[in-house]
């Protein structure tokens, strides 16, 4: 099901309480439309990871509002009972390293998500293979992760993030371990996929190589986000 992007309003996250309390997120406002790829950049300790964990429903914000597609998922408290299912079905994750499951082949690494959602194995695998075609790793479908190159592994990881057709994908430094050429290739793929599947993609990065490629960028500093227009450079 294709959603309508993600909207975040006044999101806050405080760790601890009393004198030792730390406000990791003070005021986060974001809006990412379906088919859009935005950059989230900021220095270390600015709150990027905390924001990503809040958006990924891994930790609970302290206050604010999050809307995923048409549904409010957080409004000063979770509005969704099953966060695990929310992460599985409606949020895609792409990590800094591919983190593929080493004991599953490429197809099952990707097909695992729809399988976890209860889809039959054959259908799940078919879904995975369709994505492989789009990501040009179809020929590696039966390979084990250890047999893939770094770029191939990252494309498989992107396929895993996309396979359940989530309305939003959170990409955490997806180009960090890649050289310029491959990093730009990954961004190109993400843009392609965002358009093709009407998915909102938030790319957390401080990779100077790819920052100019975003049309919109959210800067986060001391837990506060600020929207900026990006260069939106043609990276073809």
């Amino acid at each position: 099901m294709i959603g309508k992007g993600i909207v975040i309003e006044g999101l806050k996250k405080r760790y601890g309480s009393g004198e030792t309390a730390v406000d990791a997120l003070k005021e986060v406002n974001m809006q990412v439309a379906p088919g859009e790829v935005v950059g989230l950049i900021g220095p270390s300790g600015s709150g990027k990871s905390t924001l990503l964990k809040c958006l990924g429903a891994v930790i609970e914000p302290t206050a604010g509002r999050m809307k995923l597609g048409d549904e409010i998922i957080y409004d000063n408290g979770w509005k969704v009972k099953d966060l695990r299912a929310l992460r599985r079905d409606r949020i895609g994750f792409i990590f800094q390293a591919p983190y593929l499951i080493p004991f599953l082949d490429v197809t099952d690494n990707v097909a695992l998500l729809p399988m976890l959602a209860g889809k039959p194995n054959a259908e799940s695998r078919k879904q995975a293979v369709e994505l492989f075609k789009a990501l040009d790793v179809e020929h590696r479908a039966k390979a084990m992760p250890s047999q893939l190159s770094g770029g191939e592994q990252q494309r498989v990881a992107i396929a895993r993030g996309l396979v359940n057709r989530p309305p939003v994908i959170l990409a955490d430094e997806p180009t960090a371990p890649l050289d310029s050429e491959r990093a730009l290739a990954v961004i190109r793929i993400l843009n392609d996929m965002a358009h093709r599947f009407e998915t909102a993609i938030i790319v957390v990065t401080h990779d100077e190589k790819i920052i100019p490629t975003f049309k919109r960028i959210y800067h986060i500093r001391d837990g506060v986000t600020q929207e900026e227009s990006g260069e939106g450079k043609d990276f073809q």
């Binding site: 990871s49 695990r84 599985r88 499951i101 099952d108 695992l112 399988m115 976890l116």
Partner: protein, 400 residues
């Protein structure tokens, strides 16, 4: 849904199989320990079965003849034979000793049996080669576990014996193979002193004025003669007539002969409950320790395997894998390890059981119990790893 545990095992099957082999050897030792205990019980039962007796008449207030020494006069059997319900009564002696067999000493229970025919209490009930003892002296029937062959000669005390028959599975409650020789020879072997001791005793007797009286010339000879004869046996084995109840006949012998009488059940209780009780406890302790060690090994292995997958588990949790799927994966791996271990253990225990010097009886029911115990141990052992896996924060998959 695919089997995550199965895929993980297949991915690292070498490590898994080697670990299973190691665990299997430990399980093999555990099964063998149980088999050793079963073998001891079976040896005790075989001893009772092979004696052909319904009742054991022994010295009063003793647990003889197997658990304690017992001494009876050798003519008692006649009065027992005459009692109502007694079909057959025969003297028997038992002496466990080292017997030279070729280059080696073999520990054997030398059994003195009365002259008679097959079926006489105390006689070996069947032979696998040769014949039964037909002469009153210097013939022997040996269990094949002694290593003797037909025609072999061996020495007990001063006498030499020829093996005329071979039997099988005739063992003492300690599992020592039995050697049957004529009762007179066995009594001599047990009670007769060596030449020097006899010479010393005669000298003492001659020098004792009470025995050496010139006025009674035959007294000294009679005393010396009585000292060199042996009127003792260890027990009288009794077979009862059909239609009689063993306990009634036993009561009758107790009352009229003032002797200790045990029936089959009582004798089995003495052997299993008293004679091998300490060994059984010892083996029980070993079993407990081995089980704990096995559990610790499985727990350690599964825990280590799980710790090696922390990042993958974090990713699985982040992408929405249920806790029970992750717990199931670890549990299945622990059980799979136990299954490999059990199969290896069962095979190794079966292969090395015949090599043990004593009888190792691997009962199918013990294997079933062992299998259940292995599964339970593996399940319990996996809990530590499951706990560690469930504590993994999915946020660990996200950097920073």
């Amino acid at each position: 849904m695919i089997s995550l545990a199965g895929r993980d095992i297949m991915h690292a099957w070498g490590k898994f199989v080697l670990t299973g082999l190691g665990l299997g050897l430990l399980i093999g030792v555990t099964l063998s320990m149980a088999g050793i205990y079963r073998g001891m019980v079976d040896d005790a039962r075989a001893l009772l079965d092979n004696s052909g007796a319904d009742l054991w008449v022994v010295q009063k207030d003793t647990l003889g003849p197997y658990a304690e020494p017992s001494s009876l006069y050798d003519d008692l059997w006649r009065s027992i034979r005459g009692m109502p319900g007694v079909a057959r009564a025969a003297n028997v002696t038992y002496l466990t000793m080292q017997v030279r067999q070729g280059e080696w000493d073999v520990r054997a229970m030398v059994t003195g049996i009365t002259a008679g025919e097959p079926g006489t209490p105390g006689w070996p009930p069947y032979l696998v080669a040769g014949r039964q003892i037909t002469r009153g002296h210097y013939e022997a029937v040996a269990d094949i576990a002694t290593g003797f062959r037909l025609g072999d000669q061996f020495q007990i005390r001063r006498n030499h014996y020829t093996v005329v028959g071979l039997t099988r599975r005739m063992v003492s409650s300690n599992g020592d193979p039995m050697i049957f020789i004529p009762l007179k020879d066995a009594s001599e072997a047990q009670f007769l002193k060596d030449n020097d001791a006899i010479h010393q005793q005669r000298r003492r007797t001659v020098e004792t004025p009470a025995f050496n009286r010139p006025g009674i010339p035959d007294l000294l000879d009679e005393v010396i003669a009585s000292q060199s004869t042996n009127p003792y046996v260890n027990a009288v084995l009794v077979q009862i007539k059909s239609g009689y109840v063993a306990s009634d006949v036993a009561d009758s012998i107790r009352r009229w002969q003032r002797l200790q009488v045990y029936d089959r059940i009582q004798m089995e209780q003495i052997l299993v409950g008293k004679l091998i009780a300490t060994s059984a406890k010892q083996i029980g302790m070993f079993l407990v320790i081995l089980s704990v060690v096995s559990a610790a090994i499985v727990a350690f292995i599964i825990y280590t395997l799980t710790l090696g997958k922390i990042r993958e588990i974090a990713v699985l949790k982040l992408i929405g894998t249920k806790n029970r799927t992750i717990a199931g994966m670890i549990l299945q791996q622990a059980i799979a390890l136990g299954l490999i271990g059990f199969v290896v253990g069962k095979i190794t225990a079966t292969l090395w059981a015949p090599i043990f010097p004593k009888y190792v009886l691997l009962e199918p029911l013990d294997s079933v119990r062992g299998f259940v115990a292995v599964v339970i141990i593996c399940v319990l052992s996996s809990f530590i790893a499951i706990r560690a896996a469930l504590k993994v924060d999915p946020a660990e998959a996200i950097g920073g």
